[in-house]
Symmetry: C2
Subunit: 197 residues, 2 copies
């Protein structure tokens, strides 16, 4: 087996996900993953620090995709319009990998340590979006509120998208979820009615 | 020292927080906490499983407070109005303990494991609020979106409240943050303009 393998990362990812689903995450070793991928453990460790990284190595790229789209939103965009641009950019990131995303979600759901790691990833993303909004001149608390609202839409839309019976595209679900959040917010307590203290 | 100590839990909490701020969380032992509180380690372990629990033992009570308020919101409330009732109920929970909350926040901010635990606590709270909304007959994705939006308001308001220079009450900040989120959502992309696909 040569040192250089075309798309070895992709083969490891696919093999790992199959094994995580078949045997469980805890029960799968790097040696198992390498064997299933037809590669060596040595090659595995040139691509990933450990088996957990197979599930989370896309996080940085996702963050870059979202922040780039936020930075690139037209100047007159409102904070939520800029956040919508960041959300829309994730559709290209995920759309072709629904089956992978479904397996990944079920593996993460089944393991407390992985759920924690996922929460940290999402919190890091939210902080990066808030930082991006502040770079655009959005003051606090608006920057953090808009970023958190955007991540709420992302989380809820993602959970719908990976559900077995969901036929809509991720992009369509994102758009519908944001519209629902806007409708919910509009039906909230009137700020004018707020009692003082 | 007697077995029974009036408000031993409170004394341990105060002593622990002082030491966490003075020496750092990692460097503080249960023996240190007990000594500072003038109580025994044995008594400590009747109140808390470990030193981390000193920081998180209020989580269940906070969740109960919020869910009870959500359940008690008048029947015709919209989802966001019910969430606002849950948020308003937390003001009573925190308002008298601002200095404790400030110290707690600084301790958690400085420690990755504690930040993870805090994220898990907040995600659990969000799930409990979504569940409460579903009990009220709110369908998905609205229940999860409204709960996540409420937790976004909570997180941002809490961070403002514990900031050094913030003079407003937690309740006033909560109310202002929710109003800001509503204003932001209203200035978002028009659902009517959403392209199809």
């Amino acid at each position: 087996m040569g040192r250089w393998e075309p798309d070895a990362g992709g083969r490891f990812r696919m093999a790992a996900m199959e094994l995580f689903v078949e045997r469980g995450y805890e029960q799968t070793t790097v040696a198992d993953i390498a064997e299933r991928a037809g590669l060596t453990a040595r090659t595995f460790f040139r691509h990933f620090a450990d088996k957990r990284e197979v599930l989370f190595s896309g996080a940085e790229q996702l963050q870059r995709t979202m922040v780039d789209a936020l930075d690139g939103a037209p100047a007159p965009s409102t904070p939520i319009e800029a956040i919508e641009a960041a959300l829309a950019a994730t559709a290209g990131f995920f759309e072709d990998n629904r089956e992978f995303a479904r397996r990944r979600s079920s593996v993460i759901e089944a393991n407390a340590e992985l759920r924690e790691r996922e929460l940290i990833k999402l919190a890091t993303l939210s902080a990066a979006l808030a930082e991006g909004l502040r770079r655009r001149g959005v003051a606090e608390p608006d920057a953090s509120l808009a970023a958190e609202a955007g991540m709420a839409v992302f989380r809820v839309a993602f959970a719908s998208w990976v559900a077995a019976a969901e036929p809509r595209s991720f992009r369509a679900i994102l758009r519908a979820s944001l519209a629902r959040l806007q409708a919910l917010a509009a039906s909230g307590p009137s700020p004018g009615n707020a009692r003082k203290n």
